[in-house]
Symmetry: C2
C-alpha cells in the first residue's frame, strides 16, 4: 500500500496530460463502460459542512476509486482550507487497498477545472472576454486552465465581496490576465461570450435576457439540489444543454431546477461524453447559446487518481 | 494525520470494553442522535466482489467515520483474505482527515461479532447448545465472543463443505468448545436454543417448523437484498423480530424478504437500540422465539473506530 502526500501528488499531476484522460473518463461513462453509483452525502450544521463521496470504476481498469471531498465553509476563519479530502485506490480483482492519495481535495479542484477547459474547447466560440461569477478557487483555476484553449486574456469578474474581488484581480493579473470588475452578473454576461459560474449561490444570478447570442456558459458552482446560479427560463432559451452526467444532473445542479420548472425535458439534455465521442452533435452554429452543467462525476476522480498513482509507480521502478 | 496498521489496531482493540461501546452506538442510532445515510455499494462480476461503504456520525462526537469493507470470494484461492477494507476518521468541525485505520476489515469482523454477543445476552434463554450455520470467520468469531455471555461450550455446526466443517470442529475445540456436526440446518435447530446463521446463502436454510420454542436466532449472514437464510413463514411465527436498523432491514436481509412476502408488517419490527435503552420490551417469556436480523450499521463502525483511535491517542501522549 502506497501513501502519497500532497506535495508529490502536485509534482506528478503537473506532468500529466489531463485533458485526454478526463475526456476518456466522460466517454467511458456515457458509453456505459463504468460503474458509478449515486453520490454519497453527509451534511453538518454547526459548523456547516458537506461531504461528498464519489466512487466507482471503469470496466477493465486495474483499480476502483473512492473519493472523499468536503467543504466546511467556516474553515477559512480558523486558517484551514475549506476543501478537504483524499482519494483511495483499491484493486478491482481483490479489493485490496493499493494507494491513499492525501491530496486535500487538490485533485478534485484540478479535475473540475479540466472539465471546464474541455467544455470551453468544445462549445465556446472564439473568446473575446471570459466572464466569471465568483472569486474563489474555481474562479481562479477555471480561468487559469483556459490558457491552454484560448488566447483570450480578458476577464470580467463579479462577486459579492469587494475585498475578494480586488484580490482576485491582483492574483489573476499576476498570471497574465487583464481583469475588469463587473457591477452585476448581467454586466458580466453582456460583455462576455464565455461565462463560468463558480458560486455557491442558492439564488439565480443570471437570467435568460442577460445572455448574448453565441455565448457558452459553464455552470459549475451548483452541485447540490439546493444551489443554483441560472434563473428560470435560461436553459429553456439555450440551444444546447450539456450535462456531465444526466443521472446526476436530474438530481442536482441547474438542470434539476429546470426539469422541475418544466423549462426543459429529459430528451433535450445531451451528455458530455456523447459529444466528445461524436455520437451526438455539439454546437452547430456560432449564434447558439450553449450551457454545460457540471456536477462532478466519479469518472473524473477515477481517471485522475489512477493516472497519478500509475505515474508514481513508474517513477518508483 | 495518523495511520494505524493492523497490528496496532488489534493490540488496542483487545483492551477495549466493546459491548457498552457498541450498545451506545445502537441506542444513539435508534434515538436519532446519529446521521447514517444509506449504505454505498459497488459490485464486481469477474472475479465477483462486493464493496460496502458505511459512513456517518454521532451528534456531538469529535469525528465522522467512513468505513470501506469488501468481500471478494475468490481471494482465498490466491491466498489473500476475502475481507478487505479500512476505516477513516475525519474532524466533524473541519472535515480534516484525522486517522486511517488499515484494519483489513478486522474491526468490521469484531463489531459484527460484538453485535451478536449483545443479541445473545439480550434475547437468548439459558443456552444448552449453540447452533451454527456456516464455517467461515463469523461462524468462529460469533461463537468465540459468546464465551463472555454464556457458560455453554456445546456447539452443533452445519456447513456445505466437509473439509471446512472438520477444520471448524478442530479450531473451535482448540478454544474450548465441544463441536458436534449437524447433518442439516434442521438438525442443528432441533438441538439448539441459540442459533447463529452466518452463511452467504441466497436460498433459505431454516424453516418455521425447524425451530423449537424458546429459541433465539441471530441472522447475520444476509446483508444484501438477494441473500437469505430464513425461509418463508419463519419471521411470521417468531414472537419478537429485532432489526439492528429498521431502515436498512427494510432494504436488505431477512426482514426485507419477510416484508415482501407479507410475513410481517413494519410495526412488528423492533429496533435493537430501542430494546437496549428499555424503551421497547425484549423477550418477555421463556417460550418465545426471537429473531435478530443484523445487517451491520455504520454506528458500530463509528463507535469502534473512534474508540480505537482515541485509545491510540491516549497512549501517544
Amino acid at each position: 500500500m502506497h501513501i502519497l502526500n500532497k506535495e508529490s501528488i502536485i509534482e506528478i499531476v503537473k506532468k500529466l496530460d489531463l485533458v485526454p484522460l478526463i475526456q476518456d473518463g466522460f466517454v467511458a461513462y456515457s458509453q456505459g463502460r463504468s460503474v458509478v453509483p449515486p453520490v454519497g452525502e453527509l451534511s453538518f450544521k454547526d459548523p456547516p459542512g458537506d461531504v461528498h463521496i464519489k466512487y466507482g470504476y471503469i470496466l477493465g481498469d486495474s483499480y476502483y476509486v473512492i473519493k472523499i471531498a468536503s467543504g466546511f465553509w467556516k474553515n477559512e476563519t480558523f486558517g484551514i482550507p475549506n476543501g478537504q479530502g483524499m482519494m483511495l485506490l483499491f484493486d478491482q480483482k481483490t479489493g485490496q487497498p493499493k494507494a491513499i492519495l492525501l491530496d486535500d481535495a487538490t485533485l478534485t479542484d484540478i479535475r473540475t477545472a479540466v472539465a471546464g477547459q474541455i467544455c470551453a474547447q468544445q462549445f465556446a466560440n472564439d473568446v473575446h472576454c471570459i466572464g466569471v461569477l465568483g472569486t474563489g478557487l474555481q474562479a481562479r483555476l477555471q480561468v487559469e486552465y483556459l490558457k491552454q484553449v484560448t488566447k483570450c486574456r480578458t476577464v470580467m469578474v463579479w462577486g459579492r465581496n469587494q475585498e475578494k474581488i480586488e484580490q482576485y484581480q491582483l492574483d489573476m493579473e499576476e498570471i497574465g490576465f487583464k481583469v475588469a470588475l463587473g457591477e452585476s452578473p448581467r454586466q458580466v454576461a453582456q460583455k462576455s461570450n464565455l461565462i463560468i459560474t463558480t458560486t455557491a449561490s442558492s439564488e439565480p444570478l443570471l437570467f435568460s435576457d442577460d445572455i448574448l447570442p453565441g455565448t457558452h456558459i459553464t455552470a459549475m458552482g451548483s452541485d447540490t439540489p439546493t444551489k443554483r446560479e441560472l434563473g428560470p427560463g435560461l436553459l429553456k432559451s439555450a440551444d444546447l444543454v450539456i450535462a456531465d452526467s444526466i443521472a446526476q444532473c436530474q438530481e442536482r445542479g441547474e438542470i434539476a431546477h429546470a426539469l422541475v420548472e418544466g423549462d426543459i425535458s429529459n430528451d433535450r439534455i445531451v451528455e458530455l461524453g456523447n459529444i466528445l465521442s461524436e455520437s451526438k452533435p455539439g454546437r452547430t452554429t456560432p449564434e447558439q447559446i450553449t450551457v454545460a452543467d457540471l456536477t462532478g462525476v466519479a469518472v473524473q476522480d477515477i481517471q485522475i487518481a489512477t493516472a497519478v498513482f500509475e505515474s508514481y509507480l513508474e517513477k518508483e521502478i
